[in-house]
Symmetry: D2
Subunit: 342 residues, 4 copies
């Protein structure tokens, strides 16, 4: 159970609520973010406690949050969140296409790719300057030099930049050069990092962990939001299962599942989600048909020479054709969905 | 490695091939189906053995089948298989929609549902007379009485009937009343049953097992085909993973994966694949966008009263709207895909 | 909720109970086995219904079976079941070791192996005459010829024979030659086969399906028991997960989980459970330490020449040493456990 | 392929090796830790490259590291690593028992528990001051106050302290008060944190990620070792699977798998690995029988009042009995194993 305090609630009022709960035999955990205080009651209190608390000064609302998340839910924010990323938006009526190479390798590579991405009509550019690689001996990214190349892409092509950070120092650098910081799948439960980006004023693209349940995914977003940053885009990128024909198992059912509970937008990454070039286009189309707010796509001037994940990158021609296709599906899918909504 | 004998190869010719292989130090396993004999060489023979065998009388072809399947592959049948089911086809240019209740419960229920399915334009009707239930105390289906109701649906509405059998006796009955026998997920590796339907002349809809890999799925089809029955429709129905927001995790990447290797058509069942009403429509659309040859959908006059899996059944209105939507997506998706094919 | 009728209950009494339940607005499913009738009430009846039913003639007991199994539970049979298999027992104080080759390949192979197994002190011999192979082109077993060789093992060495059947014809043959029929992992939810062996009077060793939950595993046993055959031995043989360093992931926690709920004995198969020779001994020891009632072990005169699963078979020397080790662990483990029982 | 440079190799020698590799058409990635430089060659070089490199000045060894790890392997360090943690060791002949509460809650709680742990004979105490909780509203640990309580345990009882850190600030604090820093499952692929602890001089207990493969687990250790810190203890704590009867599926096969490849010690945590009190003792015994170097056990003065994971904590009595049991199994298991080693 969560007690949401009014924005203007005083310290004394918060304290009184905590003491009342303790006196009734329950423990509390209090989270204060930039806008308000939320007091969580632990230990399975029953409905009766509501009568003791609801009329205390400073109390805005008492919510039975069975899942222990609230800020991510439609209960908390009834409309759909549209997140502003640089000069464009994710979560609105337009399909957000985020394209670019897995890793930033050279200025030539990103500029060439960005030209194709910009020409297609996409508004977002991706590319990793910090790469979380399974082996310490693999290419780890160009670091700040890579970020500078991304900044040049923004300047030249007007594309909005989304790029990953793996730690606080990385976040501080990404903020200087990019429009949105990505938290990768391996860091989805790096709670310290989540809290850190939660205290900043930059949109966060949060990738689902390899074995994260829906609740854990939403709770990771709740960690960020509980610190005050409400600008979150969720991203499905495949889960780990017994299945081996693709690198991961893309779980498209998470899209309606998230939309059923949460106001946050969700995009899908079929490139990491499948890991195989020939699967990217069909799964990208499926992602749009299932109702995702956007796509993350890997594009590379020469996939077979990529320093990272070349097997899954689209060629320029494949990308351009796919872009047109997904727009068509979006058009058909959205028109129709409007009518079916229950 | 597989030695494919010519159709007209004699017993003596088969025997000579076997003896030659044995003499070279390898074991053989010989499968004779209604059309030809295939000799499998076990024990990792190298390329040299080919020179010994390729000129023996009766040998049609020698294939390095690393995965130990061959009949399901494009290597064996280069075009795409279009399977005739009653008066209609699965695997051709038209999207195959197979709709109906999970279980046949009463004549009224199936006739009411069939009227809606037929009116939509769908050509196939589903409904279980034999139900594989996890508990022995759950409703097990109406048996032959249920099959008779399905036969009445065929007669009255011209719909082609697909229904499950769980054993040989069940198959014998299904053949009498229906157009296609379904082998359920739990029986995907019931090899005796696979061989049994492999010797019959009725199309088989083979559902992917709950934890079957791509290879195991194709090998189950190979079991049926190796007995002579080549009329197989594959069906993805969700796999078992750690994830709990849906009943199963629908693995749409299996569709391009199958199409990459095999000539067999593949349909998707988003009803069992998600187990939740509100997810069926978005995942059905995704299934079509990903390139599936058809859909299996559960429809029920009154989902909340269903004796089996009510939580996932569509209402008549939901079904009718969805049918229109998926046709639109099929249209867009097919036009475009034609151009992208690599 | 399950209504257990008295053994001597008449048809009329059963009928009256069913009608009463229906009149109160609930559906019934009635299972009649050789000893008694069990009426399952579907549709979430509340406690009140008990008062209507408990005094009806012929009613023995009413049980809230939330999991829909009852015969497998300690609620139904409070002691621990000790299953007689030929001349020996599984589930008693002695550790049951079931050893032998994966597949019966030749008389020489089984006799040689049986001599070692018998000498070790083990009482049970395993060996497949019908092999469920993923590929139709793999060695499928020697069939009845193999069963005859197993019968010779029994005669010569006094070992009790456990061997798999994959269908009804196979079961009929196994009964003629062996002491216990094994239902393999792939057939754990072959409900027709479960019912068939449920009507026979031979012990059944039921292997856990590759992705079966605890409840599904127990319900498969319940299927057999609901037909009257209560002589069941459960067997953990590894589950399918993302993990690839072993062929399967041996889930030893199922042992205390089963023992917590059920009176049935459970043995562990570390050979299939790991698929790798060097892991068999450590996992066998762990299986005994965790409290399993027995072990299934693959032993082969010459593992590298085995026609099936050679990579996991123990050599004679490895087997003999391991046998001594597990007895020591059993001794230590049992003495101590007696005191810790809660 | 990895080129291991001699400890005394000069910058120029490293540079020459890199240039030679590049000239031959391959890319390099160079890792320099406190003791030596390792140059990784990417792009599948063949054996021929060895002849070009092996005689260059400064080159110590060239290793075909197909898995891209080397420092963790027996190839690199042939004996078994025994890690000194405070005044005791992990990986030696003695079973290491690490016991204590999940979370440090109060001085009274830790002192009471430590008295029992010390009395049993165990040498290591665990207890979390920083807790990675799935929900931001759950108890997050006492922070530095908790660490001070742990330091008091060390002082009073001579127990060596192992406690988790979730970020660099946390690591800096843990170093001040404890003997070993734990990296939790959720941070197993937090590569920035791995590198950070890799540059320090404190033993690291590295928990396997919830869905980490054997290779990923060893590569996480390799990350730490590649920075110079070779004092690593691996810990299995259960993986995420479809199975729900336990909180996680304890994968004991990882123990022989690690021992087959690596010189690093590995301990098992059956408390997190099962999440259920009644399973802890049997799985702890199994862990010892399988050959683990130690156990992590949760003990709490009053499990039902624990602020974190109470359902799995042992009572004092349960712990004390279990401690004796596992020592007995260790004794039997080690004596015997010595003989069986292949």
């Amino acid at each position: 159970m969560l007690v949401i305090m009014k924005k203007e609630a005083s310290k004394e009022e918060v304290c009184l609520v905590e003491q009342t709960i303790n006196r009734l035999g329950f423990c509390t955990n209090t989270v204060k973010n930039s806008t308000r205080t939320i007091i969580s009651i632990t230990g399975n209190p029953d409905q009766a406690i509501v009568y003791y608390l609801e009329n205390l000064p400073g109390v805005a609302e008492i919510i039975k949050a069975t899942k222990s998340y609230i800020l991510v839910t439609k209960q908390f924010h009834s409309g759909k969140s549209v997140i502003k990323v640089g000069s464009a938006e994710i979560g609105g009526s337009e399909l957000a296409v985020i394209a670019g190479p897995c890793a930033v390798e050279s200025k030539e590579q990103v500029l060439k790719t960005a030209a194709v991405v910009a020409k297609s009509g996409a508004k977002f550019f991706r590319g990793g300057a910090f790469k979380p690689r399974t082996s310490p001996y693999s290419f780890q990214g160009l670091g700040e030099d890579g970020l500078k190349m991304l900044a040049e892409v923004r300047e030249r092509f007007g594309l909005n930049i989304i790029t990953e950070a793996m730690d606080e120092r990385g976040v501080d650098l990404v903020i200087k050069y990019a429009d949105c910081v990505q938290i990768g799948a391996r860091n989805m439960q790096n709670f310290s990092l989540l809290k850190y980006v939660g205290r900043l004023n930059i949109p966060v693209l949060l990738k689902r962990g390899m074995s994260a349940t829906l609740d854990e995914f939403l709770l990771a977003a709740e960690y960020i939001m509980s610190e005050g940053n409400h600008n979150i885009i969720l991203c499905e990128r495949g889960i780990r299962t017994f299945s081996t024909h693709a690198r991961n198992t893309l779980d498209l059912s998470i899209v309606p599942a998230v939309q059923n509970i949460s106001h946050l937008p969700i995009v899908v990454d079929p490139s990491h989600g499948t890991g195989r070039n020939y699967m990217v286009a069909p799964l990208a189309k499926a992602s749009v048909a299932v109702g995702a707010d956007g796509l993350m796509l890997e594009v590379h001037p020469c996939p077979e020479e990529a320093l990272c994940d070349g097997a899954q990158a689209l060629t320029f021609d494949q990308y351009t054709k796919l872009y047109e296709e997904v727009l068509e599906i979006r058009k058909v899918s959205c028109e129709k969905t409007a009518n079916l909504t229950m």
